[in-house]
Amino acid sequence: MTGPSLLALAVIVGALVVSLTRLALRRRAAAAAERGPTWRFVALAGLQIAAGALLWLTLFPPQVLTAPGRLVVLTDGAAARLPAAGDVVVALPEATRAAGAIRVPDLATALRLYPEPGRLRIEGHGLSPRDRIPLDRTATFAPPAPPKGIIALALPAPVAPGARFTVGGEIGALQAGVVELLDPAGAVVDKAEVKAGARFSLSGAARAAGPVLFDLRLRDAAGRQVEHVEIPVEARAPISPRVLVLAGAPSAETKYLRRWAQDAGIALNLEVSLGGGVQLGDAPVALTRATLDAVDLMVIDDRRWEALSRPERAAIDGAVRGGMGLVLRPSGPLSDAVRRDWASLGLPTAETDSLRPVRLNGPNSDVNRYDILPTTSGGVQLVVTKDGQPLAAWRARGQGRVALWTVADSYALVLTGRADRHGELWSELVSAIARPGEAAGVQVEGLARAGQRVALCGAKERLAVIEPDGATRRPLVDPRATPGSCAAYWPASPGWRTVVDGDRRSALYVQPADAAPSLAQAQARAATQALVETAATGPARAARHAPGSPWPWALSLLAVLGMLWWLERRAPRR
């Protein structure tokens, strides 16, 4: 018992004693005729005692046992509802329609405030990043209808100027629509028809080094815009690889490869061996481990491969294990020895040697490919066409990568006026296979949004973020954070930032806080679902004690006091 309740008890008991004493004294002092019936005295005394008790109960109502209720948490998109019996309804700040719910600043507060409800029910699209904490009780998640727009998005990695970048994603519940990629001038550069749950992949090209914003627009079947997301693309001036091309015969393929390499600023050494020691092209490079360590990518065809000596093959294999990229290029039907060799490198080839025409993307983009990529266990697919056919496959070998390139006549693209597509093909292949370049700089997982914490990972030294207004902020780097040396950064406003990490600079685009609502909802749903699945499961809690309501006691007190008043007023019969 607390101080106030003790005091109140003392006062009530004292008053009762005084009152009863007075009643008894007056009765004794009164004449027998005026004394009245005994039942009246008894009733008065009893009612006084009852009034005292009821006053106490009104002031301090006894605890009641209630059924174990639920803690209902309303998040963004939850509909206002009347709580069921025993439920406690709290609303997080994101919940807009939450009439009658208790406002809490975050989920942790709600869990601490209401430990009694044994079950947790989360309504709405899900918990915001702030509230993604381990749940301490059994939880259920009741999301509303899934979002219609773009629910997954893969932003493009930094690309070289002129190279193709790809934006991938997934569509939510929209029945049918068109997803378009718009360049900074507002022109549609790529589009795809999508339906509910479909994945899409659009590509564009950066025209100059520097940050640039593309726009991804989703329109429904009637042409109305459903959603649009800004796609930040950073084109960096690349550090070009050194490429060694070994061919067993001169061909148009090597000629146009050399043309592309020169235009793209790639140091390419072309050696064409004609047999019998006759060489064409650039000065030959001895195939030793030392020379190959200075090469980032070797492109070799099957005829030249057959002519390699044993130490040369060992040197190539050692260089690949050390990080060099190796592209195997068939120039005709493969001999059994070459097949065996290439299979031992991890790239088995299918028996069919037929050439098959394949259309890359749009008109005038037909090339022929050797149909030698096995359908299974053929390594990682690379350079996939619009209709899903891979033109190459690669496999890791030590630190390096070995790729099988199946296109027989990519030069035909140049001849039909699609030199850009030819360059794109080789750019994609070389980018993926060549020896790793410099570290990519600070990375950000997903979309950075204004007002939300952004993890800048992969930092090496002290980080500095240059804000759009020119101010510099210095987030602290935690070297132990995963995936590696992360720093937390809270952007206040949308716009481009420059992240400076030592001598590396990378661009970071912060989206407006309300950008890509479907994506945010889908992420919240997934995260909440994961939390719910890993929530602590305990036994269902028993009935709990809750403070009872004082109102029934107060009404009873009023009734008792009324009877007391009536009895006191009623004069005893003379």
């Binding site: 193709r164 022109a187 025209r207 100059a208 750019s427 980018s431």
Partner: protein, 724 residues
């Protein structure tokens, strides 16, 4: 009685109503004005209705007091003559008795006095005065209270200060396209113009206050000064080319550039309706030919066009052409006209083997100079006559070229025959050898023709009555089909890979008549290759003739041995004949200087040494402009930067670049305008964004480069190394 007094409460009620109104009306008015100020007309309406309602209710409430009780009390108080008995006046007389009835009668006589009384309550002057005063103060306060926007802001917006700089208040542009376009003149209020080239653009601009002068400056052209006419500034000019202009006036803030986009007149387009192919052939019995052309233009095609008719005669190199032009009148609407002319083939002079080529030349109606376009030409060809096949219509066979074995083939076959000798019967071997001998005879006779020898047998000899082109022998058509024509060319070079198809460049002169003997030119054209002209002929040089004669001798020996079945004995002669033939051919062969590639001189010090020091492969000639160097990329990059640290874009270099690349850029005019806007309004972020977007369209995509993958971290490195 009551009627006599009824006017008294009525007057009192009226007075009370008026009094209430006098107090309430100013208050309602003041409330309405205040509400207008606070909440607009709707507030006034609400407050006025509420106030009037309240006043009416108060007035009605106040009138309720004036009933009979009030009247009797007032009469008792005001009319002493009624002797405090006014109650009796309202009592019905039949209920009264005695003294009361008497008193009532007395009072009735004094009723006139009572009726003349003024029982109206006095005006509540103080309340009225107070109401009017307070209302006046409220109204004044509401009217004079400063607006929330700040002191004097409304004031300034309503009436510009008389000394403010002039600004543009309105613009009317009247655009009159050239008359020949047939488009009506139109007016617009937008300052950006899009009109056909040559349109007259008339400006009518309004300024407030009026400046001293106003001009339209066109960068790179003469400015157009405007004249003041009344309250407007006007000026007009015709424009042929697209341009940008700016309105300038002393004191006028610097305006943005506006576009004058002049759409040039496109040249007419000619299409051939019939015939559907560019080359058609004369049908048998065709006498007339009617090609139909269709010409389109954006504004109109000239009614008359010119048809150029070219007729060719002759064949081979001996072709003469005659050319003439005919005016043609078109039919149809102005923008799409059809031109057709029926040509009489005989009158045009088209003969067998000739071509009739027609081409339509149309003009459009552009002023001052029409645009002329020469349409595609269509050809009507009359094929050359087929060879005469008298009496054999429908059964005619193609006359085949002559086939016979070459000297080398005879040698090869003879050797093969020797090899098979053991397996063959003597008769068969003899037959085969005799056949080879016939071939040898043919060949000898052919070469003999070169030497002017007589043809053996006169067409009746063995092996000579072959169906050759030069002497059609219809009774013995070969059935070999048109394949293997190469054998005919053996005289030229056995190893030469000429493919002498029927349509190749060598005209072997089919359908030649008569004996070929003595006509060496024809023979040469037929069997040899006249690689030289007649004047420089080498075929007839004595040494060649001697060699050929020896070859013929050898052939003769060979033939003799073959016909006797002595194949082995024939071979040396045949081989000697081949060698002599080759000698003769080489003697007559002419080597011409072709245009060779310019090879660098051979470095003899390096030759065959295997040294490659200092040899670098030459760079290929660049194909694309290097966009990294262009000012557009730099400006685009600079425009993307924000904040105080952003470098200002080099707009002068960009302007020069746009000028140099205007022909290539999709919309150079817009870029120029956007550059000007950014230059004049450096703080305008939208203008910078617009220019950046326009520059993106102007940038050329560089050759796709390579972005190498990022290296893996140490753990990833361990993982990759552990992979087998």
């Amino acid at each position: 009685m009551i009627a006599a007094l009824a006017h008294l409460p009525r007057a009192a009620r009226l007075r009370v109503v008026l009094d209430t109104l006098a107090i309430g009306a100013p208050a309602v008015l003041a409330g309405g004005v205040a509400a207008w100020r606070v909440a607009g007309p709707l507030g006034t309406l609400a407050v006025g209705a509420a106030g009037l309602g309240a006043t009416a209710w108060t007035a009605w409430k106040r009138t309720q007091r004036f009933d009979r009780t009030w009247l009797t009390a007032a009469l008792d108080a005001q009319a002493p003559g009624l002797e405090d008995s006014s109650d009796l006046l309202f009592a019905p007389p039949e209920t009264l008795t005695g003294l009361a009835a008497l008193q009532q009668a007395r009072l009735r006589e004094r009723l006139k006095e009572a009726a003349a009384l003024d029982l109206r309550p006095a005006w509540s002057r103080r309340a009225i005065a107070a109401s009017v005063t307070v209302s006046a103060i409220v109204i004044a306060a509401a009217a004079l209270w400063p607006a929330p926007g700040g002191p004097g802001s409304r004031h300034a917006a309503d009436a510009p200060a008389p000394l403010a700089a002039p600004h543009l208040t309105g613009a009317r542009l009247r655009i009159t396209p050239p008359a020949y376009t047939g488009q009506r003149a139109f007016e617009q209020s937008s300052l950006d113009v899009r009109a056909p080239a040559g349109s007259q653009v008339a400006w009518s601009l309004g300024f407030l206050p009026h400046p001293d002068a106003a001009t339209l400056t066109l960068p790179g052209e003469i400015a157009l000064s405007l004249r003041r006419e009344g309250g407007r500034w006007t000026g007009a000019r015709a424009f042929e080319r697209s341009a940008l202009y700016r309105i300038e006036a002393p004191g006028l803030p610097r305006q943005r550039l506006h576009r004058l986009e002049m759409i040039p007149d496109t040249a007419p387009v000619v299409r051939v309706v019939t015939p559907t192919t560019a080359l058609s052939f004369v049908e048998p019995g065709q006498a007339r030919w009617t090609p139909v052309f269709e010409a389109r233009d954006d504004y109109g095609v000239a009614a008359t066009a010119t048809l150029k008719i070219t007729v060719t005669k002759g064949e081979g190199e001996n072709i003469t052409t005659t050319e003439r032009t005919v005016p043609v009148t078109g039919q149809g609407e102005a923008r799409r006209k059809r031109f057709s002319l029926s040509l009489d083939l005989a009158r045009e002079g088209l003969t067998r083997g000739g071509d009739l080529i027609v081409q339509l030349i149309v003009r459009d109606n552009r002023q001052p100079a029409a645009q002329t376009v020469e349409g595609p030409s269509v050809i009507l060809r009359w094929p050359t006559a087929p060879p005469p096949v008298d009496g054999l219509e429908g059964m005619a066979r193609k006359i085949l070229p002559v086939y016979f074995r070459s000297q080398r083939q005879i040698i090869i076959d003879a050797e093969a025959l020797l090899a098979r000798k053991a397996r063959l019967s003597a008769d068969k071997f003899m037959d085969s050898a005799n056949g080879l001998g016939e071939d040898q005879a043919q060949l000898r006779l052919r070469y003999g023709q070169f030497m002017g020898e007589e043809a053996e047998g006169g067409g009746g000899g063995v092996g000579l009555a072959l169906p050759t082109s030069d002497a059609p022998a219809l009774d013995l058509p070969t059935n070999d089909g048109p394949a293997a024509p190469a054998a005919k060319a053996e005289t030229h070079d056995d190893h030469h890979d000429h493919d002498h198809g029927p349509g190749d460049g060598h005209d072997h002169g089919e359908a030649e008549e008569g004996s070929p003997l003595g006509d060496m030119d024809k023979l040469l054209a037929q069997f040899g290759h006249a690689h030289d002209t007649g004047d420089a002929a080498t075929l007839f040089s004595p040494s060649t003739r001697a060699t050929l004669a020896q070859a013929l001798d050898a052939m003769w020996d060979s033939e003799r041995a073959l016909r006797q079945g002595q194949v082995k004995a024939a071979l040396p002669h045949a081989n000697r004949a081949l060698v002599l033939l080759k000698t003769a051919q080489q003697a007559t062969r002419i080597y011409l200087a072709r245009t060779p590639p310019k090879l660098p001189p051979i470095d003899l010090s390096r030759r065959m040494s295997g040294k490659r020091d200092g040899i670098v492969s030459g760079r290929l000639a660049p194909l694309v402009r290097d966009p990294a160097d262009s000012p557009a990329v730099e400006a685009w990059r600079a425009l993307g930067q924000t904040g105080p640290a952003a470098a200002p874009p080099n707009l002068d270099a960009l302007t020069r670049w746009v000028g140099a690349n205007a022909a290539r850029l999709p919309d150079a005019l817009s870029i120029s305008a956007a550059i000007d806007t950014v230059r004049n309004e450096p703080q305008c972020q939208d203008c910078r964004r617009k220019l950046r977007a326009l520059l993106w369209t102007a940038l050329e995509r560089p050759t796709p480069g390579v972005q190498r993958r990022a290296p893996v971290d140490p753990r990833g490195r361990l993982y990759l190394d552990a992979l087998r």
